[in-house]
Symmetry: C2
Subunit: 348 residues, 2 copies
Amino acid sequence: MKSSARKNATTTTGKPGSKVTLGMVAEACGVSPSTVSRILNGTAVVSQEKREAVDRAIAELGFIPNPIARGLAGGRTLSVGVVTQAIDSPFYGVALRGIEEELSPAGYSPLFVSGHWNAQEEQRCIDVLRSRRVDGIIVLTGRLSDEALRKLAKELPVVVTGRSLKASGLYALDFNDFEGARLATHHLLSQGHRQIAFIAGDPVHPDAQERLRGYRAALEAAGVPYKPSLVLPGKFHEESGLMAVERLIDSREPFTAIFAANDQMAFGASLALHRRGLRVPEDVSLVGFDDLAGAAHSLPPLTTIHQAAHELGRLAAQALLQLLAGQKPSGKLPEPRLIVRSSTRPLK
Amino acid sequence: MKSSARKNATTTTGKPGSKVTLGMVAEACGVSPSTVSRILNGTAVVSQEKREAVDRAIAELGFIPNPIARGLAGGRTLSVGVVTQAIDSPFYGVALRGIEEELSPAGYSPLFVSGHWNAQEEQRCIDVLRSRRVDGIIVLTGRLSDEALRKLAKELPVVVTGRSLKASGLYALDFNDFEGARLATHHLLSQGHRQIAFIAGDPVHPDAQERLRGYRAALEAAGVPYKPSLVLPGKFHEESGLMAVERLIDSREPFTAIFAANDQMAFGASLALHRRGLRVPEDVSLVGFDDLAGAAHSLPPLTTIHQAAHELGRLAAQALLQLLAGQKPSGKLPEPRLIVRSSTRPLK
DNA sequence: TTGTAGGCGTTATCAC
DNA sequence: GTGATAACGCCTACAA
């Protein structure tokens, strides 16, 4: 039962996967490549004996099918592209894990690319993914136009998060940023706060705008006038939260609570307050958004809006898998929840 | 200058990258595929006029070369595998970004897979990468045996971090965990602390063991006896740091400082201390390890050991690129640095 | 049930 | 300089 491959002078002795091809397996047990292919893919019925011989040869030679060639021939690559914005984002990182967990058992490999919140770069990412012939694409939020996504979906199954959008071949998983921000603001209002500062996110992020809307809506519902001077621009990272609070304090605009459009800015805000001698929550109540892993262990533990990032990833991957299988996805993201910890308290 | 592809009935009007092939470009301007290929790869000199015609056709048709086919034909895929341990690790995430930044401009795409600190899973990851015919592999730390890596390096260029190892086709980027831990411990000792607790990491991580060694070495150098009762097991995440401190306090073992084997555990420790009414740094000094993005903005800002994660990623990618180009990498990681912030102070 | 003959999109090796 | 032609490893008709 020795391999007798002509082309390869190698002795092909169980060197797992080195360069063993389907053809070599076929030759090794005297059948045609098609037969081996059929066995591998269950494309047709093959006699018991040949099947066994081939299985044995596969094991002995340590043959691993080459997805590349498979892709070229069959038009599938068993890989899906994932457009994330920053591979090291604490929030989306968790979603990536969810995607990986869901895709892996299905035999698909994710191909991660980063768009850096820049429509042009995102488009380039998508070109890369297409050139690599991914079977489908997951777009985590980002700034591509709805139009661009619709067009993309005509070529490939697409799942997009962070917006609601309908088109054939496309499934959108929207998370309710508006409601989350409304909940956070409402929580502060219900504790008697009226002068609630808002540290906004970068307005180029779609999320940021929704969160601002939610903040305003809650104020309005409570009959509290919206004051632009209480809204500070931020960039979604710690340092920007810190600077926003410094500016706020310097402006002498009175406030008793702060709602930061994400946890990272809340952490920065917390440090700025501390530096200025203000305690959380005794002097100022603070609410974040996202419920990052660190929020529960910050000092004080941060009251925040829980976003199901991990679930987001899983659902996105599931939806894509369903699209790929010709089914209609139906998963929905859970609504954002308020997680009350220790950074807020009723206004005295 | 209209396309006149026979096989494709499509009108191929600038639909970027849809399914335009090299052959179609060739046909569009009446040259052979080889010529187009040569122009694309600079494999040989081509006449000015043909080059221009082809360039124009490429632009007009929106042709994007297919790396898949390229890989099949040329034995290269322009993709490199990256074995990380958890795609959402706050520390390694930054390294992934570094890798991406370095690989992208070189035309390579990273293929990220997660081994979850499990040698078996890591091996499976590597099989996946090999089956996808990556041109090289970067292994971020992990638990594979040196032997397995050596074997792998015989087939592919390999760059591995977190260990020192020599073999042809392999480049190791070791970071000095020992020295980092020694520095951290020494810092506390130099401030007069003698009862220094150590929250260890999961001993299955190679890093964890080195950091424990560094801690012990510093104690020894200062003539402070090593007390096993001051060493608490941890798991590298916040919650384990929190529980370690609770156990420590419950044990009634006196201590004036804590060195946590990573920042996440330090954050958890900080919260536990707070809950038990102990202030940082007034009552207890605290040092972390890694210098995560959040460390500078925690309360109080955490004194820690800076690990150049981003640099780690860049260097690893550079080294692999050099290996791929047949050169000998020589990059070295900067030594760990102590970053003194506000969580430590001299013992009264 | 099985084998043969393309073809997928590109590159490498020849001749010309 | 340039163009055929044959791989690359697999899959899918089609034929036997």
